[in-house]
Structure formats: C-alpha cells, structure tokens
Symmetry: C2
Subunit: 221 residues, 2 copies
C-alpha cells in the first residue's frame, strides 16, 4: 500500500512539475495579464517578514530578502477563467538578521518537494476576468550559523496569494496561513519536541531577476 507521498525518494506535498524542456526565465520578461503562460521556471525576487517564538527567549521578527525559483506546469486550459497551473518551488534563498541570533538563511528542505497551484476560486468561475488564487506548501530550512543550529518544519508552511491578475504574480503581497503556531524542529534533534515556532509570515513576490543576482545571493557568506 502506498499513498505515494514519497516520489523519487522525496516526500511530495502535491503534483510534481515536469522540468524537462522548460525555459529558465530571468529578467527582463514581459508578462501578459489574465493570460495562462507557457511553462517555465520563474526566477523572482522575494521579501518576507517572519515572526518566530523561541521558548525561553521570546518572540522576534525578522525581515528577509532573497530569491525563489518556481517551476510552472503547462496550464490545464488556454482560458484564463478555468485554467489551473501547478507549481514547484525548486530553489529558494532568503537572508535576514536578528539581534542576539545573528544571520538567518532560509533555503528549501531537499527531502520534501514544495508544491503549489494557481486556480480561479469557484465562486468566481462565472466572472469573465477573475483574479486567481495561489497557494504553495513550503518545506523550509532556517539556518542560524552563529547559533550553530538549523530549524525545519514538518508540517507545510502554507503561503497564499490572492488577487492574482497575472502569472507569475510579481508584486503581489502574500501571507503564511499560520493558525497561532507552526512548529519548527532542530535538525540535530529532529525527533524531539519543537525547538521554536513560526507565529507569523507576510511576504511579497518580487519581479524577475537576473542569473547574476541569484548567484550573488546564493553564494554570499
């Protein structure tokens, strides 16, 4: 018996996007609003403000800045209204700083495929030009080099963007759908109780960025 949440050795939280023969899209790009796009890998800037609670240390809020690489599937139809697009977050690097903690570098957990989709909310299926809704289940690692610690989530961090008028939704604000707390675990003691909690997350998708910019963020010490 299998529920195939494991796929190619990796746990998957949703459909895998076929990465063969899809172009890598860097800045500059022209995006047509209300138009299902050809498949591609979007290389985009991102900013995020995350709030963490560490038991015994208190709550702290960190501003992150970096990039994401998002693979998009072939849209299910050519019509904006009923087309669905599936996404995989295939790379991420965001950097932030917290007083008393030092650097925090957020990347993807390689053991889990972060997956998502864009679709028209059912209540808007009769609109001629609806705004779409975007959701993504993210498996992240929060590396704290000065603390000698890496935290990770076992339940997905659900990122959502509403009011999507074009794909990718560059410039749109988004939210982490966290009800009170999302447990984070210490990779050195992964079976123990949570080491910290994510208690809030707001982000904004940026525009297409260059390959050079991505390399400067990912290679920074």
């Amino acid at each position: 018996m299998t529920t195939a949440v494991k796929n190619g050795g990796q746990i998957t939280w949703g459909p895998r996007v076929d990465l063969r023969d899809i172009p890598n899209l860097y800045a500059p790009q022209v995006v047509k609003p209300y138009t299902p796009p050809s498949p591609g890998i979007d290389n985009l800037g991102i900013t995020s403000t995350d709030t963490f609670m560490v038991p015994g240390k208190g709550e702290f809020t960190v501003d992150f800045k970096g990039y994401v690489r998002v693979a998009r599937s072939q849209p299910s139809t050519e019509n904006w209204v009923d087309s669905e697009v599936y996404t995989n977050l295939i790379e991420m690097c965001m950097r932030g700083e917290a007083p008393g903690i030092g650097s925090i570098i957020v990347t993807l957990n390689p053991d889990i495929l972060s997956t998502g989709m864009l679709r028209t909310p059912w209540t808007d299926m009769n609109c001629s030009q609806p705004e779409k809704a975007c959701r993504m289940a993210v498996a992240a690692m929060f590396n704290l080099p000065q603390m000698g610690m890496t935290l990770f989530n076992k339940e997905p961090i659900e990122l959502t963007i509403d009011h999507v008028q074009m794909i990718p939704p560059a410039g749109n604000p988004g939210k982490g759908q966290i009800y009170q707390i999302l447990p984070l675990y210490d990779r050195a003691n992964p079976e123990e109780k949570p080491a910290a909690y994510l208690t809030g997350l707001k982000f904004a998708m940026g525009n297409y960025i260059t390959q050079a910019k991505i390399e400067s963020i990912s290679s920074r010490k």
Copy 2:
C-alpha cells in the same frame, strides 16, 4: 542528510508518543479540569461536518459520526499553566453519507503519523488558570465504497480546539484550519492533480466511549 520526517518507515508530522505502558481509557472516566493528566490513550466519540468540492460535481456537505483514539504523552510539567502535552491520533473511524456519493468512511492514513500538541497560548502564560490551545495535524483517508474510490490528503488537515479547560477536551468544538481549499488525491492515481478538495471542517470532541461501541463502529459494513 535527513530531516527525520520519516520515522520507523512512517512519515511523522510531529513528535511520536511512546505507547508503551500507557493505559487504554474507555468510558466512564473522571476528568479533572485545569490538571495535567497522566499519559493515556483516550477513546472518544467525535462528530464532524466536512464540506468537499469535487470539480465538475459541485460542493457537498457531509455529517460524520464516529470515534478517535488519541495517545497523550507525559505532561512536560505538573503545572497546568506551563505544561505541554503531545498527542498522536492512533486510530479514527467516522462514517457519513452523501446523496449521489453513498457512504464515506474516514480513517487514518497508515503511511503518516498524525501528531498534535496542547499548550498554553504565550499571551496567557501569566494567567493563573489559562485555557489551553490544542492542534493536531491529521493524515486521513476518505473511502467512498460506492464510488470505488479512496481520497487522501498530502498536506495535513490541521484541526484546532481553543478554550481547552481539561485534557482531553471532551465536548469542545473545533475547526479545520483550511484556507479556501485543501487538496485531496485519488489513491488510484496519487501523483495526478487533486481529485477533490476539502473546503471546510467543523468538529466536536465527544466523551469517553466503551470498547464495545468502538468495535461496533469500526466493524460496521
């Protein structure tokens, strides 16, 4: 490299509760309010009202009734205020009916350990007798025998109960924290796009029930 989300062959969404030497608790039981209890397996009734969207078929709401078996850890401290209790949902059977669909039987996905915790919200840590918050990440299977289909979730169904004055929180209402949609997949085509979506979930924990009652629910055809 491992993030140990796999544990004993099973994916785990949180800490595993040690099931050795903990008693099976059936009706009747006396539960003391505001008191961290000894570890145990709570055998409880449950009712739930779930709303599903099936693309091309529409939205339908189903009332379920059944039982859960919840293993509780040793509380982290003896004080109600700061004690944390970890939980595993080790068995579930809920039955419902939907017009045009037939029976729906909800059980646990054996490939994933459904995990949860009870804790005092940080904002209430200075209260002398706070109400606790309960959360559980559930991996379910929805068997539709007349349709010849079983649906399952890859992202957890997050069930929450607030205002918990005793453990277990028998009689408390709870909610599935679903932002718009939670994708459900067809076990016959697990790597395909979602076959349906869970769009709403409200539940109520029942009281302790007898072993005979549990057996009558789980063995019913």
